[in-house]
Subunit: 192 residues, 3 copies
């Protein structure tokens, strides 16, 4: 039996229709892939309390160990965790005041509760050491080695008059846009 031309052209039309639908699907799937979150975790570290900085870096290193891209955005009191030393040089009056009242480096971070002028902080460090838990400094070192991106907020630095030589190495400068660029592609976003 011979195929009749009409059937043939019908079949071609049907195929063309399928091709159109597949083209559409491919475009939509590509869009979906772009809109899906990456394997990424973004943390705003606003707090400068030893316990909160510790929690932030336990999560950051834990996520990095699970293969996530991690970034920590340091702002406000979070700067106390990335200060290498205190410096008053070249600072305006209020900036000096702020520097004097802030911890000189991460080893002087207070705890958010029961700090009692630093006793609580020393107690917590002692208890952690006894249980062989890594210190905040070790965790931050680990985080850096694992490729965790550490972003130091431009605006906080500017407002508090902090200079680069007061800060630890390995920080990237960035603004709220840097946090959002990462955060909007993240599976987990936390403000600590």
């Amino acid at each position: 039996m011979a195929t009749n031309p009409e059937m043939m052209s019908n079949s071609q039309e049907r195929t063309a229709e399928l091709v159109r639908r597949i083209n559409d699907l491919e475009r939509q799937v590509e869009d979906l892939q772009e809109q899906l979150p990456d394997d990424r975790v973004s943390i705003v570290l606003f707090s400068g309390d030893l316990d909160r900085v510790f929690a932030a870096f336990i999560i950051a290193t834990g996520a990095a160990a699970l293969g996530q891209e991690v970034s920590v955005f340091f702002t406000f009191w979070g700067y106390n965790a990335i200060r290498r030393k205190r410096s008053l040089q070249g600072k305006a009056f209020l900036e000096k005041m702020m520097a004097i009242m802030s911890p000189g480096d991460s080893r002087s971070l207070p705890v958010s509760k029961m700090n009692w002028f630093g006793v609580g902080s020393k107690m917590l460090r002692a208890m952690m050491k006894k249980k062989k838990v890594a210190s905040v400094e070790e965790l931050m070192e680990m985080a850096r080695d694992m490729g965790v991106t550490m972003i130091a907020c431009d605006m906080s630095r500017d407002v508090m008059g902090i200079r680069d030589d007061e800060l630890i190495d390995g920080l990237e400068p960035g603004g709220v846009g840097s946090f959002l660029a990462d955060g909007l592609k993240s599976r987990v976003t936390l403000f600590i």
Copy 2:
């Protein structure tokens, strides 16, 4: 050579099978599109500290500038940021106590660290002004102009006995369900 009828029907079956698979894919892709997060950022503002309110609105306005739908859900101490004035009229004893001890408006917000009865707060405002950083009030005004949705938690208002005329304009009422409705469709969710 003539096409034999069996071949023809095989080809039709194959086509029907392709159509079924494409139908399935289209349904699944539609489901995926619905389940994907929107371009949306949701913030619970629980805190009433100047520094934290400031951080919340830097993120809110930054996200709005990037084209995200943003909502800020004010609850508990976060109410201090949206109070226009203090009023004791018609309040029960404990509600009055709470009102008296809370900042009368956003200009009286304390800072979370080093507040020293308001000196720290004034210092921070002065340092920000010097660096030409927008004030919290300016940021909140900007947020409103950019279409950021501001939701005032029903339950907090009820517990603290706050009346509408004590609050700034442009707030929407809402409960935890309002926060979750937005939050579950968001790319970034933060508790500040």
Copy 3:
């Protein structure tokens, strides 16, 4: 008219090409479905303040009521919310100190602001009761009944020397990995 063999084989090739593209799409859609967040909300409860614990469980029960899988990960001061009683037995010196200074159970939780040695906390509880808002203990009971997963952080327990019999029932042990396993699949992640 007879179909010529070349046309036929062209059509077969075209069909084979469509099948390849559909196969690809099906694989990609399956990948997308796996990478999409689940209907899930994950909360780190780091704080032990009455007001913050309350907010955490308002969100947790609200999300569970909307059909979300919810997990709350208790760490650091968050342990104060799941302590049944204080015990000093078998504790080392610093662990005893920590236990003595911490609230003995959830009924003794302070508030994060205006606590005044517990007056603020009693005030807040009284104001909530008057407005018929559920207490923290009722909310936690509800959460458990609604299937909210409560995870008690191993590391915090170890550092503070807390024993199982000091804690309320229905907790699962877990580390940062447990939080991340849930968090990375969640629509909403909060650090409270």
